[in-house]
């Protein structure tokens, strides 16, 4: 035969900045991975608690919820910046991208600042006892992820500010927001477990 069936895709765009982008799915999977890690740590918190009579161990003061509760405000507000940036990335609005990412970065740094200050008031370290170990593990891993994501945001700010960027970088800005929403979202159960958990699972049995 002299003809064959052909599907002409030349009319399709060579990139797509939305949740249909493969990079988006990849990022969601990374969030699933990190979510699994932090979920196991939450489970571990309760497992360790159930293994002893007194929680936290004698002589250890529970972490106070006041400061971290206040810190939730800049944290949640920072999502506005993420959203602004990711929507602007779709449209190619450079000013709004920069504004959104900067807002996100700034508020996130405020959050981290409050967190760092809060840590100074802890009466326990990771090597004090099981309670200290699991609380610090959760806080360290979450903080590490946050700092890593903020470093990425900072680099993106530099790139977008330089003007030397294209569609691939815009996809990056758009997808960066997924990680941030995830890190904010996963902090809520962690926060509840660390700061409110002991009040509900009882200080002693």
């Amino acid at each position: 035969m002299s003809t064959r069936r052909a599907l002409d895709v030349s009319g399709l765009p060579p990139y797509y900045i939305s949740n249909q982008s493969p990079l988006f799915l990849g990022q969601v999977l990374l969030c699933l991975i990190e979510g699994s890690v932090l979920s196991i740590l939450i489970a571990t918190y309760f497992y360790l608690r159930l293994g002893v009579d007194a929680w936290p161990p004698p002589g250890v003061r529970l972490p106070e919820p006041a400061l971290p509760t206040i810190a939730l405000i800049p944290l949640l507000a920072s999502c506005i910046g993420s959203y602004m940036a990711s929507e602007a990335a779709k449209r190619g609005d450079r000013r709004k991208m920069l504004l959104g990412m900067s807002l996100n970065l700034l508020l996130a740094l405020v959050f981290l600042g409050i967190r760092a200050y809060d840590w100074g008031s802890f009466t326990f370290r990771w090597d004090s006892d099981a309670h200290g170990s699991i609380v610090w593990a959760m806080l360290f891993l979450h903080s590490y992820d946050v700092v890593a994501d903020l470093m990425m945001t900072a680099v993106l700010i530099v790139i977008v500010a330089s003007g030397r960027y294209g569609e691939k970088q815009r996809i990056g800005v758009h997808v960066d927001s997924v990680i941030w929403y995830f890190l904010v979202g996963i902090w809520l159960p962690l926060y509840a477990v660390i700061y409110w958990g002991p009040h509900f699972v009882g200080v002693s049995r």
Partner: protein, 636 residues
């Protein structure tokens, strides 16, 4: 906007021009720096396969040492320390450095071919994953060169593996090596999921996708949910308890060794299915090709794969029946552990049905499939026995269990893998593998395997525990151990025959065309070996077996740009074309990033602050990786 299939006149000169352009675009740079910056999936897949095979040989060597030591009572080939290090290295090498990476490698190589695309979704991530795997292997065996060898077993239970009872850095190296292989596995999992779900050829709806791709998809999800647990158990819990004084699994001050077991086996049980599922996919590929019909019961096969994955997450306590957990809870795990035999069983029934109604060609690959059925089913039967708590409490931690898991792992994963090697050899190398020595190697391996491991069931029932470096003659275990060692020598011989055959066939075998077996799936539409770009024209699919039904008039994709590495992104369920995606070419940055992260992780074995080194060096690598490059604008 949706593209539509139209009839076009065939123009061979256009095809040729297209090939030339593709060759230029997909050309990999020459020389060492070119080799180090490769991002094409065939090369990276083959690197995984070859490297994992080297680790198979190393692990096999360790096994031979163990068998030689145990061949006779009160033997002095290895002392207790030497034996403990050897069995630890054997298990660790086989589980982390051979089995999972090998399956990953087969997936990375075959999946883009089978789904009709040119590369994986994130080519540089692919390269990075391989370098991390290699780094982990080098860390573990580099430690061997400096006598820093773990000796607490491949699952390293604390308190024995803790700071008080395991001095030195061997266990630390073990724990951190797991981070490497786990990062690698996660990279491949993300890679395969996105590639399979978003880059299938137009028309390849999920129910037209080869079963091997289904098995890699399901397995990748399992990796995502299971691997974090081993990172936590080994690095967050054990390594930190050892190096910075945390109290997770250390009984002093509230830690719990049973916590370690729970979290480790939450990974550990799915791990064996992570190894097993791709092998099941390979069996399907082999059976359908060499029995000349599609596997019977495709929907049941898919549901069984998915069911296997789900149930596998609910079994882990069956490794802990002797720890004295409450009986009611344990009974649930008995039920789940037996129920998983259903999903495995359904697949066996479907393959048998395929064989009964197909035209069987008894190739070497089919031999290995038949061997798989025999050995794996036997292993599955002892698995059902182990699921029963009273039985398990007698045979747990004895050579009965050693026999069981070798039956299911070697039978369930290694035999299908060797079948896959023989089946896809022409595709990998462009030459046919010599069938006769292939079948001979099968029989030697089959006989050797059963001779080694069947007597172990009896040794276990007669009281021989695991992980003993020697035993006295009055125990009566001498004969079974001697037979097992003889079998091990046979296995080694079979391996040698296989390797010799592979080398010989690669050099002197008959040249293979693109489809020597007359298979039905897309990998057989490419040349042997495939071009760097896989398909000159990306295919359009109407059927599960495109090469069996569309030989005369295959549909093709036109309108892609061939002057850059472009692939087609399609919708998740039905594979409607959605947009085109420009993939990066060669890049040295994955290697640089991997080296930086590896240095940091290796250093963390000594001190926690090296994690920060890993972060900084990794960040530098990632910045180079993602720094904007020309062309900035992506033209249509």
């Amino acid at each position: 906007m949706n593209p539509v299939l139209t009839e076009r006149p065939i123009d061979h000169s256009q095809d040729l021009a297209q090939e030339e352009e593709l060759a230029k675009t997909w050309h990999n740079l020459r020389g060492l720096s070119g080799w180090l910056s490769v991002t094409t999936h065939q090369q990276i897949g083959m690197r995984y396969i070859v490297t994992a095979f080297v680790f198979l040989l190393l692990g096999g060597f360790e096994a031979l040492l163990m068998r030689l030591q145990l061949a006779t009572p009160n033997n002095t080939l290895l002392g207790p320390g030497g034996y403990n290090r050897t069995f630890t290295m054997h298990g660790t090498t086989m589980m982390f450095l051979f089995a999972v990476p090998m399956m990953e490698g087969m997936g990375i190589y075959m999946v883009p071919l089978m789904i009709g695309t040119r590369n994986v979704a994130f080519p540089r991530l692919n390269a990075f994953g391989y370098w991390m795997f290699l780094g982990g292997g080098l860390l573990l065996y580099g430690g061997a060169l400096t006598n820093t060898i773990p000796d607490a077993g491949w699952f390293a239970y604390p308190p024995l593996s803790g700071p008080q009872f395991s001095s030195g850095k061997g266990v630390d190296v073990w724990a951190q090596m797991i981070t490497f292989t786990e990062i690698s596995a996660m990279c491949v999992a993300v890679e395969l999921i996105v590639t399979i779900l978003r880059m299938r050829a137009p028309g390849m709806s999920l129910n037209r996708m080869p079963l091997f791709c289904w098995s890699m998809l399901v397995q990748s999800f399992m990796v995502i949910f299971a691997m974090p647990a081993v990172m936590i158990a080994s690095t967050v819990f054990l390594l930190n308890d050892r190096t910075i004084g945390t109290h997770f699994v250390n009984p002093a001050e509230g830690g719990d060794p049973i916590l370690y077991q729970h979290v480790f086996w939450f990974f550990g049980h799915p791990e064996v299915y992570i190894i097993f599922l791709p092998a099941l996919g390979m069996v399907s590929s082999i059976v359908e090709t060499h029995c000349r019909r599609g596997v019977f019961g495709y929907p049941a096969m898919v549901l069984s794969l998915v069911g296997n994955a789900f149930i596998a997450f609910g079994l882990w306590v069956h490794h802990m029946f002797a720890t004295g957990l409450p009986q009611i809870g344990e009974a649930y795990f008995t039920a789940a552990s037996m129920m998983i035999a259903i999903t495995s069983g359904i697949q066996i029934f479907c393959w048998l049905a395929t064989m009964w109604s197909g035209r069987i060609h008894l190739t070497a690959a089919m031999h290995f499939v038949l061997g798989f059925i025999f050995i794996f089913v036997l292993g599955g039967m002892t698995g059902v026995m182990l699921a029963s708590i009273p039985l398990d409490l007698q045979v747990h931690d004895t050579f009965f269990v050693v026999a069981h898991f070798h039956y299911v792992l070697i039978g369930g994963a290694l035999f299908p893998l060797f079948g896959g090697f023989h089946h896809w050899f022409p595709k990998f190398t462009g030459r046919k593998i010599n069938e006769k020595p292939g079948k001979i190697s099968f029989w030697i391996l089959f006989a050797g395997f059963n001779l080694t491991f069947f007597p172990m069931h009896l040794a276990g029932l007669n009281g021989m525990p695991r992980r003993v470096y020697t035993y006295s003659p009055e125990m009566g275990w001498g004969l079974t151990n001697l037979l097992a060692t003889a079998g091990a020598v046979l296995i080694a011989t079979g391996g040698v025959v296989f390797i010799a055959n592979a080398i010989q066939s690669r050099k002197f075998g008959a040249v293979a065309d693109s489809n020597p077996w007359e298979g039905g799936t897309l990998e057989w539409a490419t040349s042997s070996p495939p071009a760097q770009w896989n398909f000159t024209n990306l295919p359009v699919i109407k059927d599960r077996y495109p090469l069996w039904t569309e030989r005369e008039n295959p549909g093709i994709v036109t309108g892609m740009r061939n002057d850059r590495r472009e692939v087609l992104v399609t919708s998740t369920l039905d594979a409607y074309p959605h947009h085109r995606l420009v993939l990066p070419g060669s890049s040295i940055w994955p290697l640089i990033t991997a080296v930086g992260v590896s240095i940091g992780l290796a250093g963390s074995v000594a001190a926690f602050s090296w994690y920060y080194v890993a972060t900084v060096l990794g960040a530098i690598g990632l910045i180079g990786w993602f720094w904007p490059r020309e062309p900035l604008e992506i033209e249509p």
